[in-house]
Amino acid sequence: MAKTVKFEIKRQAGPDSPAVWENFELEWRQGMNVISAMMEIAANPVTADGKPTTPITYDSNCLEEICGSCAMRINGKARMACSALVDNLEQPIKVEPLSKFPLVRDLQVDRSVLFENLMRVKAWVPVDGTYDLGSGPRVFPQQQEANYPLSNCISCTCCMEVCPQFNEATGFVGAATIAQVKLFNNHPTGKVFKEERLRALAGDGGIQECGYAQNCVEACPKQIPLTNAISDVGRDVVVQKIKDFLRG
């Protein structure tokens, strides 16, 4: 057999099924990534010891690290499977689902909590309507350059997966949502909800749960300045709390 690549993939038929590891040995190909390996398994669903199996269930879409779908744990690290090149990985390549989210099947998990969090913090600009109301507010390039990185968040949830505080006990909202609060509070129109957003991040599960482990900023595939966002929003939340206290 030609040069091969070895994989160990964690399989689980459903949320209540036992987890099993399956080994695969695939023909090495130039430019192979973890996604193409799983496509290969789908076309030939047989384990390394020749046992027929099923294609692997996983989320994926754009395969360009911009849709945020294919986050999983590869050799223990939360990352996007599309940009995980086989040649850069130690073998056997261990692939597991994200561990902090409800498992659906195999490598697929339910990350809808992030979208629910974005609703809670009103992560939008409240425009008056979609009619032609003329141009938007002036935004200087410096401000655009500050906001653009925050707007690159692909909702992959890697930052939440690696956060020691993101768990059921704390109910922590996670870095991605906090960064979106900063983004919308910075917008000339979006800031009309600034106080509401800050209040949504006060209290249990809010920004105070952050333990400054700084894992989030290292795991982010888009290099979003997450820890800066947490410090800035954290300060604003404290100021808001004081204002609310003084107002009685």
Partner: protein, 592 residues
């Protein structure tokens, strides 16, 4: 009367644009999407969005945008809707700006614009190199707002299977499948809008996302909807071939001096560095001495195709050619091209400053799609379509940065018209055909689960992709197109023997894929046979045996309809609306 219920299928730019308009007008929307809508394929668009805002003192006008679009599309687009789109575009940019899209700015804080292909004006607004992502997020955020208000209910993780048609052939809803529980269920509505994107998966690998299979379009085509201009497929000259997909490599690499070449000797196995200059074939420079590597996109794409498939000179016998930047100093590369070089580095693992990139034209976009009238309605009453899944705005070739504006304009048009239609619709008789359609879809699922053949759906799909890419993309010969159609017929036949390795009914992605595959096969015949019939060359459709545009015979919209017969779809041709701009020869070697 209660507010009517509208179903929107697809949560990319077009679908979300429609949802926002309906919700704003007080309608209720059920929004269906295979993936969470924020992960839709619109995120992949990079360059920007066109609108003649004329903020650079160049005298740009919406009329010029209109003319560029019609000319770029080789006069095949109906002019009335294109004109309306170009006129609406500046207002759309303003709206997106108000919604918070982080567009790049001028020092004064105004929107910045850049040049793009097929125009002489700075007409493209952009947000870094991720404009599609930023626009999708802006609309996603607005939809989330309406979700909180209760006007929008999202069904993410549901796949459209078919439309529900009543006894009069009027669309009364959809049948969809839950991709976790695999439940097949009817959803009733007074109007349905499809915004289901492109069909790149028919070509195996493309620049499209995984969900862009064209399955939904094919399903309604098989239920009686016309499919128009299916043969017009845009192939981008420089994409990065990957094991899993093709990723786009911007034209700016050649703009900064990148050279395209292959080894002169077929099957030359030497590493690139060991191949001396004299044994490298810089085919674009040799064949087009005047423009060299900067020939227009369609010319470059055709040349690369020829060197690989006709001359057999692809690198390592593979469909790949070198795009070489290694002769340019690192500092210049980093200053001018860093962004795209990083993409290549990340996904290929090679540094393009040190090693030539391996690129190949990649299927990128379908100009064709569901036939719609000027109200975005298909020939099935109550079934609307907008975005890449319909045919209306790009003619025979789409200009860069026009896709985003056509998606949003199409959605903004379809939404209010669908709502108005829904309000005037009489009640359905009985269940409007819902139970019968659920039964039909369930039967198809049961059949698939029962099958005991030995065909693997993913391998059939690969064969389809290879055939379609070889015969129905860049260069088309009638002989090859006939072979492709025969191959598709063979694959349809072998599909009857498809056997699923996984027959469970929980998050069974290969089962859902196999349903899509059947629809891809049916739709691929529309593309291939449409190309076969069109004996001319126009825009992206190029036949060396018929190298000229033939307006007398083919200034027509191709309309395919499903027959279920062995010979495939039935075709008819419809006149193109050319009331504003008289067709003239299209050539980019001189000012128009």
């Amino acid at each position: 009367m209660a507010a009517p219920r509208i179903i929107v299928v697809g949560g990319g730019l077009a679908g979300l644009a429609a949802v926002i308009k309906i919700a704003e007008a007080g309608g209720n929307v059920d929004l269906f999407s295979i993936v969470p809508v924020k992960r839709s394929h619109s995120v992949c668009a990079q360059g920007g969005i066109n609108a003649a805002k004329n903020l650079k003192g160049e005298g740009d006008t919406t009329d010029k945008h209109f003319d560029d679009t019609i000319y770029g599309g080789d006069f095949l687009a109906n002019q009335t809707p294109v004109k309306a789109m170009c006129e609406a575009a500046p207002g759309i940019i303003d709206l997106l700006d108000r919604m918070g899209v982080p567009f790049n700015r001028t020092p004064e804080g105004l929107l910045d614009f850049r040049r793009f292909g097929g125009t002489l004006y700075h007409r493209t607004a952009f947000a870094g190199a991720t404009t599609g992502q930023q626009l999708l997020y802006a609309l996603d955020e607005q939809v989330r707002r309406y979700e909180v208000d209760g006007h929008v209910h999202k069904y993410e993780g549901w796949e459209f299977l078919s439309s529900i048609l009543d006894s009069k052939g009027v669309c009364r809803g959809i049948v969809a499948m839950n991709l976790r529980t695999m439940e097949v269920r009817a959803f009733q509505a007074e109007a349905v809008i499809l915004a289901t994107g492109g069909n790149g998966a028919i070509f195996g690998k493309s620049t499209n996302s995984v969900v862009c299979t064209g399955s939904a379009q094919s399903a309604v085509f098989q239920q009686g909807a016309y499919y128009a201009n299916g043969e017009f497929i845009q192939v981008h000259p420089t994409s990065i071939p990957g094991e899993d997909k093709l990723r786009l490599m911007s034209e700016s690499a050649r703009g900064e001096g990148g050279r395209v070449w292959v080894p002169r000797t077929p099957g030359d196995k030497r590493p690139w560095k060991q191949i001396p200059e004299s044994e490298r074939f810089y085919f674009l420079e040799e064949w087009y001495p005047k423009y060299g590597n900067l020939v227009p996109r369609d010319v470059a794409t055709r040349a690369i195709h020829k060197v690989v498939y006709e001359n057999g000179l692809g690198i390592d016998g593979q469909p790949m050619v070198y795009l070489d930047l290694t002769h340019i100093d690192r500092e210049t590369l980093n200053r001018k091209l860093e962004g795209i070089l990083e993409i290549y580095e990340k996904f290929v693992g090679d540094d393009p400053r040190e090693v030539p990139m391996k690129i190949f034209p990649g299927m990128h976009y379908t100009m064709g799609g569901l036939w719609v009238d000027n109200n975005q309605m298909t020939n099935i009453p109550g079934l609307f379509a907008c975005g890449e899944c319909e045919y209306q705005y790009h003619g025979a070739n789409r200009l860069g940065a026009n896709s985003l504006v056509s998606c949003i304009f199409g959605g903004f048009t379809a939404g209010p018209i669908a709502l108005k239609y829904a309000k005037s619709l009489g009640a359905a008789e009985g269940d409007g055909g819902a139970a019968a359609e659920v039964a039909r879809q369930t039967e198809m699922n049961q059949q698939l689960l029962k099958n005991e053949g030995k065909e693997n759906p993913f391998r059939l799909w690969r064969e389809l992709g290879v055939t379609m890419t070889e015969h129905a993309t860049v260069i088309r010969y009638n002989k090859g197109l006939k072979q492709a159609d025969e191959k598709i017929v063979e694959l349809l036949d072998r599909f009857q023997n498809v056997s699923l390795a996984d027959r469970t009914q929980w998050a069974n992605t290969s089962f859902a894929f196999t349903r899509q595959l059947y629809n891809m096969l049916e739709l691929s015949r529309v593309i291939v046979q449409g190309a076969l019939l069109r004996d001319e060359s126009r825009g992206a459709h190029y036949k060396p045996d018929f190298p000229d545009r033939n307006d007398e015979k083919f200034l027509k919209t191709t309309k395919a309809s499903f027959t279920g017969a062995a010979e495939g779809p039935r075709f008819e041709f419809e006149d193109v609306d050319t009331q504003f701009i008289k067709p003239r020869p299209r050539r980019y070697d001189a000012a128009k």
